[in-house]
Symmetry: C2
Subunit: 428 residues, 2 copies
């Protein structure tokens, strides 16, 4: 006997699964306690089917999802279509038809995971999605299995390969944002509309899922602040380096006394921080906890084989649990009431880049302004920006998001000053 | 009801377990599906018992292991005594008495693991030891659970915190080996006899265990070549930096066409390799595989809380499996026939530091010597070492361990040259 699988979609990731089943078949079969067989593959239409058959793929391609859903021999459905629909409908139907589901669809799980997870629970079915966060890095199962004994206090992650590739070019080689984007698009890392990657939306999806596994709380996607990398200038990068920092787009989830907060933002990382040397398209998740202290999980965030490896690990897990008769437990069993932190409780150091008139007394004006909000300076740099303008860079001591909102409002209201950029700074 | 635990030993690590049970009790209890209770604690003698009671530890301390072994309510025995005996006898007796065992004892597991694992299997009992490799890093369970779908081709690890702390001082601050050792001893990282840490023995124990989880093969401790850091000089460190490398003590397990090889040796790491920035007492395991490609797992290699966290994760795992009725599977189920690689098949780049007379034609002599063994140079540096001696540094192209043995013999036989050091160089 073998465990029969139905694949929904046969794009890049899906076609990595046969590679693993072929190259690593014996180990997978022994771990799964059974043979895994791709019984049917859903494709869009006859044209795609013919193209794949002509390319030598000898699968049983179907164009109607019901051919998979109504096939009682298929126990596991693997969704690799991406986007919300029709993936959501197909997964729902698969669960309703009593099939275990594996997905790599972070957009879907971050925005509609709650109802799909509840449905899987109700039906006593497995719904796993290791590949949805940081592709090849086995971070979700590690949080769920190995960190059960530990209490996570903060998760910092480089969670988007495209923007990290761009930031690496901007930091190591001084490229502009536009040049880095053009190169990322040329190499196929960025889509023609790069919004999700560069504006931190993709990373925010992953932060939603990480908050569930790390903190047992379900934060909604809308509750994750996200700021992208498109406004970062070579001046910002240069001053960061001068002060001993590397700028990266970082997802940051932490628990304070009042609850959890999650955000994605360009962040100044001290150059000896383990995340600071995560470069190019690589991802990493840095975990702070009361037991282990600091640990980091590093690897490729996307790509055919890494993602297929995580998907296949999920399939193997389901197969093992079928043989153990323990299938149907939630992927993540850690769950507490969700409490969101007060903005006044979420504190960081911040970087401000401001242009002022190149006149006496400007730094004093700024000092008075920040002082009135009870924000103190840790480092200040002043440079001549042009004939009649100065550029002032401030790194503050720890301040709250409430203070950040106030000072940002005040600075924006000053007619002869321009607030160029504000970024979070990871304190030592 | 609760799950009762007997602790063997109440040293640094053991006393971290109550910390976790107190600070993270609810999460642990939910994950374990049961309350965990430390029912009895074995200590050496009445004097230790009195000292611990006086220090406020309110456990049921016993001085005879039979008080734990014969207690039918105790389901899990946690061995945290270290060394081979009496730990081996106590674990054997615990398994014979039908108790599940958790241990952090790498020396014991690397040298006598086979028989203990076999006994646990025969009795249908769990025998887990996540903390035995890289302390707080959940690497063993990750290899066993998440990398089942992947085929590991090489594992490189910074596996010993003490020697890594020393190498960090030697690399970042130019300290001598002796100065670094004195500081490590002052800080309590190194014992008064530092042999196990600095000579690569401790790391070799861990390599034995990693070979089982990563490659399914049981390599014996005696089959792991180990070379320590005591011969590394400031000259070696300086030339490594000049050529773009960082020297670290690295465990290296890989599978070649003929089988696996494992060794621990000072290794030149390219400075942008993820392992190169693993500093101080931190550990990391870098995994190369056909699916994920490159991944790395980073964290503290030792310490009370990190180690206790891994031990407690093992305990939770046993508790869960007891509630699932699936307890008794081996910690690592991946097993193949062990084949050791031919030395001629294990290839690396190498660094040679040689003093020669400061006379014409020395480099030619060396070139002829290496050429006769079919070894070619990738980089050569020649410096004046003293009035009448030159120091030649060679980095070779890829060469086998057989070639290494030959050229080392030949160089040693030359009366007017001295082979100062030979280290492995990780190629790009």
């Amino acid at each position: 006997m073998s465990i029969k699988i139905g694949l929904l979609g046969f794009g890049t990731v899906a076609s990595g699964i046969p590679f693993l089943l072929q190259e690593n078949g014996q180990k997978i079969e022994e771990a799964a306690k059974d043979k895994l067989e791709i019984a049917k593959v859903l494709v869009k239409d006859d044209a795609e089917k013919e193209r794949l058959v002509a390319a030598g793929h000898a699968y049983n391609f179907v164009t109607d999802v019901d051919a998979i859903l109504s096939d009682d021999d298929i126990q596991i459905v693997v969704e690799l279509m991406g986007r919300i629909e029709p993936a959501k409908t197909f997964i729902t139907k698969a669960l309703e038809a009593g099939k275990h589901v594996v997905s790599a669809n972070k957009d879907l799980i971050a925005t509609h995971g709650k109802e799909l997870i509840a449905l899987a629970q109700e039906k006593g079915l497995a719904f796993y999605y290791e590949a949805a966060v940081a592709g090849g890095i086995p971070i979700l199962r590690t949080l769920a299995n190995s960190l059960t004994s530990d209490k996570v206090t903060r998760i910092l992650g480089v969670l988007n390969g495209t923007s990290n590739f761009m930031m690496t070019k901007m930091v190591d080689e001084g490229w502009t944002y536009d040049a880095a984007l053009a190169e990322a698009q040329r190499l196929g890392y960025a889509e023609s509309d790069p919004t999700n990657d560069v504006e931190g939306i993709d990373a925010a999806y992953k932060a939603v899922i990480l908050s569930q596994f790390g903190f047992g709380m379900t934060i909604d996607f809308e509750q994750v602040d996200h700021q992208g990398i498109s406004t970062i200038t070579p001046d910002d990068v240069a001053v960061a380096q001068e002060l001993g920092y590397v700028i990266k787009l970082v997802g940051d989830i932490r628990e304070t006394a009042t609850g959890i907060s999650a955000e994605v933002s360009p962040t100044f990382l001290p150059k000896d921080h383990p995340l600071a040397s995560v470069n190019d398209v690589m991802n990493a998740v840095f975990v702070e906890s009361i037991g282990i202290g600091e640990s980091m999980y590093y690897g490729p965030g996307a790509g055919q084989k890494p993602t297929a490896t995580s998907v296949t690990a999920d399939i193997v897990r389901i197969a093992r649990r079928l043989s153990d008769n323990t299938v149907g437990k939630p992927f993540n069993e850690f769950s507490r009431e969700t409490r969101l932190a007060d903005a006044s409780d979420v504190k960081s150091h911040y970087y401000f880049a401001i242009t002022t008139p190149d006149e006496k007394g400007q730094l004093l004006r700024l000092a008075e302004l920040f002082n009135a909000e009870d924000i103190s300076f840790e480092q200040v740099l002043q440079q001549k920006a042009s004939d009649n303008q100065a550029r002032v860079v401030i790194i503050t001591h720890s301040m709250s998001k409430t203070q950040l909102a106030h000072i940002t409002d005040k600075l924006s209201a000053i007619s002869d000053m321009t607030l160029l950029n504000t970024f979070k700074v990871l304190g030592e």
